[in-house]
Symmetry: C2
């Protein structure tokens, strides 16, 4: 089952001819989560063939325009295309004020239910949880309140070894319990341990999205061991002062968080328009954390199932 | 001196892969006017090499998202790029509420002066006038208040015929008056008529932008004789009922306005996403008004100086 991140935008606030403001789509087990929604996100979704109708949840990190100005257009197009399914939006409470004002002035009554979930800038608050996954907040430190998001798969039921089911003649009614890790006791009182009957369906996968922020040493604790970490990297490290002044991070800082957190892979993005060539940015990050990649438009980062 | 319209967007509310929502730039004598500002306008400006810094005035016809959702991003980029020059925005009063809310929530204090000019949906109100041109309103009829804009060059001073100036030995101090149409009286009381001393510098050129509207018979009177008329044409004429229901126009209706108004050229746009091929749309308009053209992205419509 997929766990795949698609990058729709890599630029910081000033877009360039080839870079778009922040937006990403995370596909967890064929459920699609849109993370930030900069201007032009709907066009980027069309370009990368992700149907609007598949997106059920939208997460907005903060209210700087390059992270949300594509939202009204997307909501409007979903409406015009006749969407019926409800949509869930997660963001600062004031985002709903912006949405409501614009809907009211355009005299639009959405055809679908828009369910708004206000997000506060604390860490570790679970804002979405179901049988597949949980999403919790990561408190960041930017010029205005800004929240990252940690996506974690739920552990999946173990896979039954069908030949063992037959060998021990295990009735079907025990299958669900065995999938959940129970041992099996046969008619003679013999215990067959679960690990002889099943294999792991893969350990839960995880993705942490750390939008605009200054370098935070404690962030490593919050994203420890994730499979995939996105951390902004607006500047190269020679502009550390500029990064601090604007509440952004450098490539070295992003890579330091990745290294300290022991993540599997780092994706850096939110690049300043001043960098035409991003190779030096990537090279710099890799001096600290070799498994670094650039969040370029259209790139997909797949986290494979692992046993 | 140029009088040139550049199309940045041709689509109606749902954008397609190749079409962008409404936005146009009108260059009158090297002054740049942005008319409507759909999502992605800043990228389109970059694509067609029109510098943000040259735009001094922005006109927004109405508060449907496909006509203004690119505005906040553009204003923000102008700010980030260090703009100092003031900018004038013309639109419904509530547009300023949207701008103010978003600036406040992003804690942005613009580096430049934003001067907002509220526009009411009456016809014939002059909202901008100076030595080069005037802009007045055109009342349209859409689902929400919607205003078109009529741009008219001011008459230019007549051009002096320098050989005649010499022939009659006319002192320099009379030149300004003669440019403004005065005759010349020499020392012997002879009257030299102005038309012997000057030629016309070209008649004033004009452009009418008629954004979203149902067909309005009286509109022909308001845009009579303009050099260039933009009129929306969301649908072909077989969908007249749909056009009426959604307060839009068909190609036949747009062409009828152009014909009745005796304009020089018609540009149709705001095409429904259902039309992949626009040739039949254009053909249909041309059955009524042969000088019709499509408002395709990147197309320029030049009005030449005419004597």
């Amino acid at each position: 089952m997929p766990f795949e991140l698609t990058i729709l935008g890599s630029s910081s606030a000033t877009p360039t001819q080839n870079r778009h403001p922040t937006a990403q789509v995370l596909n967890i087990r064929e459920r699609f989560f849109l993370i930030d929604c900069g201007e032009g996100t709907q066009s980027q979704l069309v370009r990368y063939k992700i149907k609007y109708s598949r997106i059920g949840h939208i997460f907005i990190s903060h209210l700087h325009g390059d992270h949300y100005l594509g939202l009204m257009g997307l909501l409007s197009t979903m409406h015009l295309q006749g969407r019926n399914n409800e949509i869930h939006i997660y963001g600062q409470q004031e985002l709903m004020d912006i949405i409501e004002l614009q809907l009211r002035l355009s005299q639009t009554v959405l055809r679908y239910n828009l369910i708004f979930h206000p997000v506060k800038n604390y860490s570790g608050t679970i804002i979405l949880e179901d049988e597949d996954l949980s999403v919790s907040t990561i408190s960041l430190n930017h010029r205005i309140p800004c929240t990252g998001f940690l996506f974690k798969e739920k552990p999946k039921p173990r896979k039954l070894l069908i030949n063992k089911m037959k060998q021990y003649n295990i009735p079907f009614k025990y299958y669900a319990g065995i999938k959940n890790g129970e041992n099996y006791e046969d008619d003679f009182g013999n215990i067959i341990p679960n690990k002889e009957l099943t294999i792991s369906a893969g350990r839960p996968r995880s993705y942490a999205f750390c939008s605009d922020t200054v370098y935070l040493e404690h962030l490593a604790d919050e994203v420890r061991g994730v499979d995939l970490l996105y951390h902004e990297s607006t500047f190269m490290h020679d502009l550390l002062d500029r990064a601090k002044a604007t509440f952004h991070s450098t490539s070295i800082e992003a890579a330091t968080v990745a290294k300290n957190a022991g993540v599997q892979r780092l994706v850096i993005g939110h690049f300043s328009a001043r960098y035409k060539d991003l190779a030096p940015m990537l090279e710099e990050a890799r001096t600290i954390f070799p498994e670094s990649e650039l969040a370029l438009e259209g790139r997909k980062f797949v986290v494979h199932e692992q046993n």
